[in-house]
């Protein structure tokens, strides 16, 4: 049998070359070139210098704070965002549309405004802060404050990721579970939740990524004390203000590498959980 040369299969929709070319150009201009500049700038440092910068106590503390608090905030959003989405999708009540609209507010609000409001509210004299104060809990100027701000800005990502999936999840799966004798808790835990896992991964990683880069809402509530409440993005700005461009890009580069690695890991987990039952 003669082997025919495999032709590049032409799709039904024309313009593959044009659209792909445009996509690559666009992506380069908006994302790839700016990001690569960070690495170019950072590469003016030797490995020793780079390592020295990113392992100083202050930088390490800020990295730890940024990643840990972003992770905690994303995890909080995952739990309560799911609950909120559940209420919004499964029940009808007056004001549902308004609440649904409110979810997007953290998207739209200038982050500095959010930061100032949160600081005012959670300060020991504030509306919520006074009750926390009674239990000896300090929110403002502590890592807790950082988590609160990051939770605030991450919420819409989780809700908007899960909402369409939960909405489209057919009633018949719940009915099938009930007919087979499952109670509500078993139905939720064994049938509904596993169907939402891929969307939850997406929501979590978006919220986490957003929290890592957040600056505006955190700087007011955290107090920016080096070693205690100073987040990595703030440290970068601080370095820039001191004309220490190499230092700033070194921190930026390490943040970028770690977050790339983490997002890759999350996506891999998502792929692993979803691949087996979404092959069609």
């Amino acid at each position: 049998m003669a082997k025919t040369k495999q032709q590049h299969r032409k799709g039904v929709i024309p313009g593959w070359g044009l659209t792909m070319g445009f996509t690559l150009t666009y992506l380069s201009l908006i994302v790839l070139i700016p990001l690569s500049v960070i690495f170019l700038k950072a590469s003016t440092l030797s490995w020793e210098q780079f390592w020295q910068i990113v392992t100083t106590d202050r930088v390490a503390a800020s990295l730890r704070l940024s990643f840990v608090s972003s992770f905690i905030a994303a995890a909080i959003n995952l739990v309560f965002g799911l609950l909120l989405t559940w209420v919004l999708v499964k029940y009808d009540f007056p004001g549902k549309r308004i609440i649904d609209g409110l979810i997007d507010l953290p998207f739209a609000l200038p982050t500095a405004v959010a930061g100032i409001s949160l600081t005012a509210v959670y300060a020991p004299t504030g509306v919520i802060g006074q009750y926390l104060d009674r239990f000896g809990i300090e929110a403002v100027y502590t890592p807790l404050g950082v988590v609160i701000a990051l939770t605030f800005i991450g919420l819409p990502f989780v809700v908007r990721s899960i909402q369409p999936i939960l909405h489209d999840l057919d009633q018949q799966y719940e009915e099938a579970a009930a007919v087979l004798g499952a109670n509500r808790w078993q139905t939720f835990w064994k049938v509904i939740l596993p169907s939402l896992v891929p969307a939850m991964f997406t929501g979590f990683s978006l919220a986490f990524a957003r929290a890592l880069g957040e600056y505006g809402s955190v700087v007011f509530i955290s107090g920016n004390m080096p070693m205690k409440t100073e987040i990595a993005p703030l440290l970068i700005v601080t370095k820039l203000e001191q004309y220490d461009y190499e230092g700033a890009t070194a921190i930026a580069a390490i943040v970028l590498i770690i977050s790339f690695f983490l997002l890759f890991l999350i996506n891999y987990l998502q792929w692993r959980t979803s691949r087996k039952y979404f092959i069609h």
């Binding site: 799966y173 009915e175 579970a177 007919v179 004798g181 499952a182 078993q186 596993p194 087996k276 092959i279």
Partner: protein, 356 residues
């Protein structure tokens, strides 16, 4: 366990899905709920399952009133139209689901679950596919997994919603026969919903024909096909030729053909007559008073049958007649030939739009 449905009514807003329906579903038999869409057949099925609650009336499983029991308490097997298999569970986990969600004291041991699932896999002929996910199965295989899952809980009654609706013609045929065989083995009381009359007549022991939320007729496939009680049943169960008859001197007239009135004291002026294509006899001579003159328009061969399209002289109405190949050869019918169509087997109904 036989099931008794008593005076069940259900409204959705202003739409009456079921109107005072009474029905007995015999134990150990297959019952088909047959009707067009919107006839209330699926609502009735879901009500037996407990997925819908009736507005009034009651449902008995054996001697027990199950009307207010929840879906979990009824212990029914339900196969959904699109199967509703859990996508994140493999075949084994899907089938075992009903056993694993039982309260701890009733839950079978791991070995028992394994044994039960293997039995069921064998029963539905899916041995070796227990690690597959629903997305990796064909439509017919998914259907059988859904069935095995429903049977795992040893249900009082097996309910199937349009069980063959989503499959292609060939697979449908196979599954029908297979479902029948399976039933011979298990004898579990079974109810299925369908809009396909052929399917209902072929698979069921008892056929229930529904229209507009009411039962038109209940009977064996033979009874409902051979002796339809209403116009709707006649029309719904297969092809039919319709004739308008006039009442005169206590006799019915269709053109030149004469028929005895079904009722001597007939009040109406007009009646409507139905006859199936295979019930019409074709002759060359008018040998009784029950024939009308027709002209052959078209002759089509469909495998074992030959379908004649005849035009009634005078009125130009079209009549369909099915002949066996032997009959057709014997008659040697030609296009545009004038023949007699004997309507002796016609059945008359009153011409009012309401059901008798």
């Amino acid at each position: 366990m036989d099931i008794n449905v008593k005076q069940i009514s259900k409204n959705y807003g202003s739409f009456q899905a079921l109107k005072e329906v009474n029905l007995t579903i015999p134990s150990g038999k297959i019952t088909a709920l047959l009707g067009p869409s919107g006839s209330g057949k699926t609502t009735l099925l879901r009500m037996i399952a407990g997925l819908e609650m009736p507005d009034s009336g009651s449902i008995y499983f054996g001697d027990h009133d199950y009307t207010t029991k929840t879906v979990r308490e009824r212990n029914v097997g339900f196969v959904f139209q699109h199967y509703a298999l859990f996508h994140h569970m493999n075949v084994f986990e899907n089938i075992a689901f009903g056993l694993k969600v039982r309260p701890r004291k009733d839950r079978p041991s791991k070995q028992d679950v394994q044994r039960k699932v293997n039995e069921l896999l064998h029963l539905v002929q899916l041995n070796g596919l227990d690690r597959r996910y629903p997305a990796q199965l064909s439509g017919g295989q998914r259907q059988r997994v859904a069935l095995a899952r429903a049977l795992a809980v040893e249900p009082n009654v097996l309910l199937l919603d349009e069980p063959f609706g989503a499959l292609d013609a060939k697979v449908r045929q196979e599954l029908r026969r297979w479902l029948r065989q399976l039933h011979e083995q298990l004898h579990v009381t079974t109810v299925f919903v369908t809009h396909d009359q052929e399917e209902a007549l072929e698979v069921a022991d008892q056929v229930v024909i529904l229209n507009n939320g009411q039962i038109e007729q209940v009977g064996t496939p033979d009874e409902v096909y051979q002796h339809p009680k209403t116009k709707f049943v006649y029309q719904f169960l297969g092809r039919v030729n319709v004739f308008h008859a006039e009442v005169n001197d206590g006799r019915l007239h269709i053109g030149e053909a004469l028929f005895a009135a079904p009722d001597e004291n007939i009040q109406t002026k007009k009646m409507i007559g139905y006859i199936r294509p295979h019930e019409v006899r074709i002759t060359r001579h008018n040998d009784n008073q029950k024939s009308i003159q027709v002209k052959v328009r078209r002759i089509q061969s469909y495998g074992p049958i030959v379908r004649l399209e005849l035009e009634r002289l005078k009125t130009n109405d079209l009549i369909e007649v099915d002949l066996s190949v032997e009959q057709a050869n014997q008659l040697n019918v030609k296009n545009d030939e004038i023949l007699y169509a004997d309507l002796e087997k016609i059945k008359f109904f009153s011409d009012s739009p309401s059901v008798e």
